[in-house]
Subunit: 248 residues, 2 copies
């Protein structure tokens, strides 16, 4: 399993991914699911992948090859991020269909985010079918993989005005909730920042399982969350009609 999230706020994009890959619980590997396409000062992309590892790898391989061989369509030629997502979807589908006779086994999904000069930065989620959706002011983040455990905190914290630092912290908290509930999502955790209009991917951060920062955050969030719960007004019953109520 996998958990990846990309958050597109006014000041840029945060990408966050886990690195555990498994085909059955006794076939767990560590693979980065974050791929950089640094194509000069007019286009920068990051891709996050979930689903079948062979399909993901073949898709990344083909996309790099298309750039290297100056193919008519590649991340170097697409005009918009939406075109980039369409292209990624086509490559992914082609790779999947090479091997796919039996249904969803070879499916992969992707997040692609970045910026092309002349348009705003944004993120798209590319489905196994090759179609995609993009972030918007109302929906500034997109997830792939095991998305449910970590969604509530994103829904509460993130909007387009959130700072990149806060968005990154929220992505890591969301990742922590997911890792706690699904053992097939695991470290190393990777985080990447893109500052709007910089056309420069920031150095990428990789946190191993025993990383002090990650452990500190995990512990801090666990105790803050318990405190938050303990600070809720307690439950009690009104004497009169046995209704539940919150204590004042």
């Amino acid at each position: 399993m996998t958990y990846c999230v990309a958050i597109s706020v006014n000041s840029g994009i945060v990408f966050c991914s886990d690195s555990r890959t498994n085909a059955g619980v006794d076939k767990a590997y560590v693979y980065s699911k974050m791929f950089r396409f640094e194509l000069g000062n007019e286009r920068q992309f990051v891709v996050l992948s979930a689903g079948n590892l062979a399909t993901s790898q073949a898709t990344m391989h083909q996309m790099k090859k298309d750039i290297r061989l100056n193919a008519p369509i590649s991340l170097n030629t697409v005009a918009t991020l939406s075109d980039a997502a369409d292209y990624l979807g086509e490559v992914s589908r082609a790779q999947m269909e090479k091997h796919d006779n039996t249904g969803p086994t070879f499916e992969a999904s992707f997040l692609i985010g970045g910026q092309i000069y002349g348009s705003e930065h944004s993120v798209a989620l590319v489905y196994p079918a090759g179609n995609h959706i993009t972030t918007s002011p109302d929906t500034p983040y997109l997830q792939i993989g095991e998305s449910k455990y970590g969604k509530p905190i994103l829904d509460r914290i993130i909007d387009v005005d959130t700072s990149l630092e806060t968005a990154a912290l929220c992505a890591l908290v969301s990742m922590d909730s997911t890792m706690r509930s699904n053992i097939t999502v695991g470290p190393p955790i990777e985080v990447m920042f893109y500052h709007a209009d910089s056309f420069l991917l920031q150095p990428h951060h990789r946190f191993e399982e025993d990383n002090e920062f990650l452990r500190g955050l995990k512990k801090a969030w666990d105790s803050r969350l318990k405190e938050a719960f303990n600070q809720l007004p307690g439950l009690s019953w009104t004497n009169s009609n046995n209704n539940l109520m919150l204590n004042k």
Copy 2:
């Protein structure tokens, strides 16, 4: 969709369920998913249901009929909660198989909890296949339906020493997180308490959408959670090597 959770702590059991049933988003109904079987001072059961509504209703109907007609096996005759879960599983499977030619469409799953005189109170999760698992000191709660959004808070708060009131508050917070992220889970929300060895189901609490208590809890949890997040040490980069770190 549905979300139900039952928490079995040392002092008793809390049951919590939503009431939204849907077959497509334009066929949403309100149905209670909580069923009481109050069978005197030696056996008390509560059943929560998720999945196909016709199968759930037929199962409850048959179980009531078996009690009424003094069938050889019914909730009135089973020796243990595990036997009760086996029996529920058989009834459910038989109902499902009456109509089922096409796979998982008619599946339902159940939580059954309560106490039979001479044994401890506990909860079992009955799968569509008819088999079941029970709560244990390490796993004091079980969920059916849309379980993922509301799981992290249960994992952090609940253990067997948790009080019934705190368990109920946690179930409601878990329900709130689920409703926030999945619109097919919705009020009225029902809560039921069983105090260990009481052989008496407490009055049952039903919260409508506009219920003041529920709105108060929702608001309090939202602001506490945001506070908790805002109290986390901020992220920053160390100047030296561009590593991320938590501020002191």
